[in-house]
């Protein structure tokens, strides 16, 4: 009973940071790539370079690097004072192992490197070399996602037989709930369906502020009632970003709770399947794009958001501000519809929205009402995230439209352009359009391969125009990510405007101070 009375007080004194996330979370660096996984990885592991707040890479485990003339060889020199959580020293062999593992397993962020990094060499203990297949301009910033694992520890915990031949399960079983990292925080306990508990790594090779939390808890729930109750009772410091606008208003009203809002370079797309009737007809798609009520979306449903202009959010380097932007024009919509080969009365367009983000239902229903005005029948279906991922894995099961948030994986327009429209992503959750356009693929690859930044950005601009003209997507809005947080309990740099554009790094606990 005493514990009941000692609520918030005890919680604060221990220097604990509690954040809610949409689950599930995968802390294996070769598996996890969504928001909660990235946030966990950012705390548990180290990378060669670290993203600064303007997106540029800063030395981290690597102290310096060189690029060969043909841009195919990248050599990195490592620090020699980095140790993993179990005391083993971090060497180039670990970096090589991590890259090999990531590209072999291929999940999570593996796609950034698979097919690009031909091989990795550990030249000596503190030098590692990556040999690329093709030149890759933004290679440096993709290294934010190469999390370095402890080779010895993983090898000790392989399970054979497994899917990866000699490598057994490649340590996937072990890394579900253990970490093999060197980062500022260590996994103390991971109750897979509930909560990830991490403690500060006292022997971290960088200095961590005294006021940084000793313990960090990532809690897997976005239930409004839970989040509100916890925050009201001082049991939660930062909320997830999926709370409804009504919930955020209520949270804001609590004492000591503020809303942090920032643009993380995420865009909300209505991805249109371009290979099934009737949405395979460009006029039909354009009709839908002209019929959508963009203003209501950014005024009422996601207040504070900006209407998107093409596939790339404007605050990402390489975005082109001259890209055409659709707006609601019912006459134009009807014109386009008349040009299409299909009679809308014969079809029902299915819109799938993601169950974990309740506000998406509002967008879906609004779209349904908008389309009804121009005579297009829409069916709205609520689907849980994992089922969405599965549906989008094959053309036969992909619906007409899926509403998805997506962000760039490294701070350049090319990242989104590639992960959204290149054929390699057609079977993933990042693309429902199924463009499968070889010509476009080639142009995208050529752009990314361009080493000179000016030329590369020009190529990106051309691609954005081309894609927007195809109208494979309804580009709705650029997200303003909102989190409720306890301003009287923590000092959160992101809330004060120091926003990191790389997903997950705004919850790097070592920079957050407990008051």
């Amino acid at each position: 009973m005493v514990a009941v009375l000692a609520f918030g007080v005890v919680g604060l004194a221990a220097g604990v940071l509690r954040v809610t996330f949409a689950w599930p979370t995968y802390i294996d660096p070769a598996v996890g790539s969504d928001f909660s996984s990235s946030a966990s990885l950012a705390n548990l592991y180290d990378t060669l370079v670290y993203p600064a707040n303007d997106g540029t890479p800063v030395e981290h485990v690597a102290t310096s690097w060189e690029v060969s003339e043909d841009a195919l060889q990248w050599t990195f020199h490592l620090r020699d004072d980095v140790y993993f959580h179990d005391g083993t020293k971090l060497t180039a062999a670990d970096v090589k192992y991590s890259m090999d593992r990531l590209t072999t397993i291929g999940e999570g962020y593996g796609f950034l490197f698979a097919g690009r990094v031909a091989s990795t060499e550990a030249v000596d203990d503190t030098t590692v070399r990556f040999n690329l297949d093709v030149p890759f301009g933004p290679f440096l910033s993709t290294l934010y996602r190469l999390y370095i694992v402890n080779k010895a520890l993983v090898e000790e915990n392989l399970v054979t037989p497994g899917a990866y031949g000699d490598f057994g399960d490649y340590g996937k079983g072990f890394l579900v709930d253990h970490d093999a990292g060197s980062g500022p925080y260590v996994v103390r306990e991971f109750r897979v369906e509930e909560e990830l508990v991490m403690t500060k790594n006292e022997d971290y090779w960088l200095d961590i502020d005294e006021a940084a939390p000793d313990e960090v808890r990532f809690i897997g729930t976005t239930e409004t009632a839970t989040v509100r109750t916890m925050m009201a009772r001082g049991e939660l410091d930062i909320s997830d970003q999926w709370q409804t606008s009504e919930a955020l208003t209520a949270l804001d009203a609590l004492d000591g709770v503020d809303i942090a809002a920032f643009s993380p370079g995420t865009e909300f797309y209505m991805m249109i399947n371009t290979k099934i009737a009737p949405t395979d007809d460009i006029h039909f798609r354009k009709a839908m794009a002209y019929g959508t009520d963009y203003d209501t979306v950014i005024t009422h449903i996601f207040p504070g958001a900006f209407q998107a202009r093409g596939p790339v959010p404007q605050n990402i380097p390489g975005a082109d501000p001259t890209v055409f932007q659709y707006s609601r024009d019912l006459d134009k919509a009807r014109e386009e519809l008349a040009l299409s080969q299909y009679d809308p009365a014969d079809y029902e367009v299915e819109v799938h929205w993601i169950a974990e983000v309740p506000d998406e239902e509002k967008v879906a229903l609004l779209f349904m009402a908008n389309m009804a005005e121009i005579g297009i029948n829409v069916k709205v279906v609520k689907v849980p995230w994992m089922s969405v991922v599965e549906e989008m894995g094959a053309l036969e099961t992909s619906p007409h439209i899926v509403t998805v948030f997506d962000s760039s994986h490294y701070p350049e327009a090319g990242s989104l352009i590639e992960s959204r429209y290149h054929s390699s992503s057609a079977a993933t959750w990042e693309q429902n359009e199924w463009l499968l356009d070889e010509g476009l693929d080639a142009r995208i690859e050529a752009a990314i391969r361009t080493v000179d930044q000016g030329e590369r950005f020009a190529a990106y601009a051309a691609l954005q125009h081309e894609i927007t003209d195809l109208c494979p997507t309804i580009f709705l809005f650029e997200q303003v990510e909102k989190h409720a947080y306890r301003a009287d309990a923590i000092d959160w740099p992101t809330a004060q405007g120091e926003v990191n554009p790389i997903m997950g790094y705004n919850v790097a606990a070592r920079f957050i101070k407990i008051k």
Binding site: M1, V2, A3, V4, A6, F7, V10, G11, A14, V16, R18, P24, Y26, V31, T104, I105, G106, E107, G108, G110, F111, A114, P161, G162, A163, Y164, G165, K172, G173, V176, D177, R191, V192, E193, E194, R217, T221, E223, A225, T226, R228, T229, M230, A232, R233, E235, A355, P384, W385, M386, S387, V389, E390, G393, A394, E396, T397, S424, A427, T428
Partner: protein, 342 residues
């Protein structure tokens, strides 16, 4: 028929049912469209890993062979890997079943004790204001879905009045007692951590109440009618005529026979509690088996769904058998009949 023969017959039937259930679920899950290997490994996995996995999961073999593999694995404790948690389903089960069991047991105790007491009181004081109050309450209890109770409780006690915790099994600042049984209360007692015991009990009250109120009301109604039926029976009148004190009449003569119908319903009610637990677990963020099962179902995590169905089936079977045994023990007619039958 003797107890042993009765038990044996029930067991055989149950095993039969479980087999049938497993075949049904297995077939449905294998027949559905979708590539489980792609789902497990991700859409960008290299082809050779996919092939390896396919061979390992025996997916290229005929259906009946697959079933045999699955069954032999299941018997050994290997129920496959969950798509959502990415680890062995058996591990998931080991972690989540005790949580739901603990909640269900707590709810069952509340339901049994208070249901019978309230019902007996109402029956004893039939047609008085006590009876009427209890009847109204039991009507409300019966018609209100458990999730409505849960929502109201969260609102009232968790948010407005802030007396009880509404999330999870233990407050974050209490250290968990080492896992022996998985039941938080038992484990706390074993390790002597009474602060944790109190905290765990507090966390259980609201979810258990939400689960228990419906069946409790039902139990009360049944207890009421059997008690009031028996009240008029001759043996009660004669006991009273002999001057046996009221309380003894109540407990010794009235309650025991009245217990029989309630206990027999209890088995069904317990299963109902476990099944309804998913609603309550969702609302209270209780890391239990039912919530895991619902998540698995919504996410089409087929290995997990099959395992959940089988485990719940087994639980149901065990509870029913226990209930039948208890009823047999309680009802001297059955007991005597069994002995005479030997």
């Amino acid at each position: 028929m003797s107890i042993v023969k009765f038990l044996a017959r029930r067991l055989v039937l149950s095993v039969f049912v479980l087999f049938g259930l497993s075949i049904l679920i297995f077939t449905i899950s294998r027949v559905l469209p979708g590539d489980p290997v792609r789902m497990a490994l991700g859409s960008r996995a290299p082809e050779w890993a996919v092939e390896n996995m396919r061979r390992e999961m025996h997916l290229d073999e005929p259906l009946y062979k697959q079933y045999v593999f699955w069954l032999s694995g299941a018997v050994r404790g290997d129920l496959g890997t969950s798509l959502v948690t990415r680890r062995a389903v058996s591990e998931d089960i080991r972690e989540f079943v005790p949580a739901t069991l603990e909640l269900a047991l707590f709810a069952a105790v509340i339901m049994a004790v208070f249901g019978i007491i309230l019902g007996a009181v109402a029956g004893r004081f039939r047609d008085t204001w006590i009876d009427n109050v209890i009847r109204v309450f039991s009507y409300i209890g019966v018609v209100t879905p458990s999730f409505v109770f849960a929502i109201l409780f969260v609102l009232l006690f968790g948010y407005l009045l802030r007396i009880f915790p509404t999330i999870g099994r233990l407050s974050p600042w209490i250290s968990r007692p080492p896992t022996v049984t998985g039941l938080m209360t038992i484990d706390s007692i074993i390790s002597g951590n009474f602060v944790a015991l109190g905290d765990a009990l507090l966390h259980m009250i609201l979810p258990a109440l939400s689960l228990a109120l419906g069946p409790l009301a039902q139990q009360a109604r049944i207890a009421r009618s059997t008690v009031s039926d028996n009240l008029g029976k001759d043996y009660i009148l004669s006991a009273k005529g002999f001057g046996v004190p009221g309380r003894v009449v109540m407990f010794k003569y009235l309650l025991k026979p009245s217990l029989i119908p309630t206990v027999s319903i209890m088995g069904l009610d317990f299963a109902g509690i476990v099944a309804n637990a998913f609603l309550v677990e969702l609302i209270f963020n209780w890391p239990g088996f039912s919530r895991y099962g619902i998540n698995a179902m919504l996410n089409k995590d087929l290995n997990a769904v099959s395992a959940v169905v089988i485990v719940l089936g087994m639980l149901f079977v065990i509870v029913n058998i226990i209930v039948d045994l208890v009823v047999a023990w309680l009802d001297p007619r059955i007991r005597l009949g069994a002995e005479r039958g030997k």
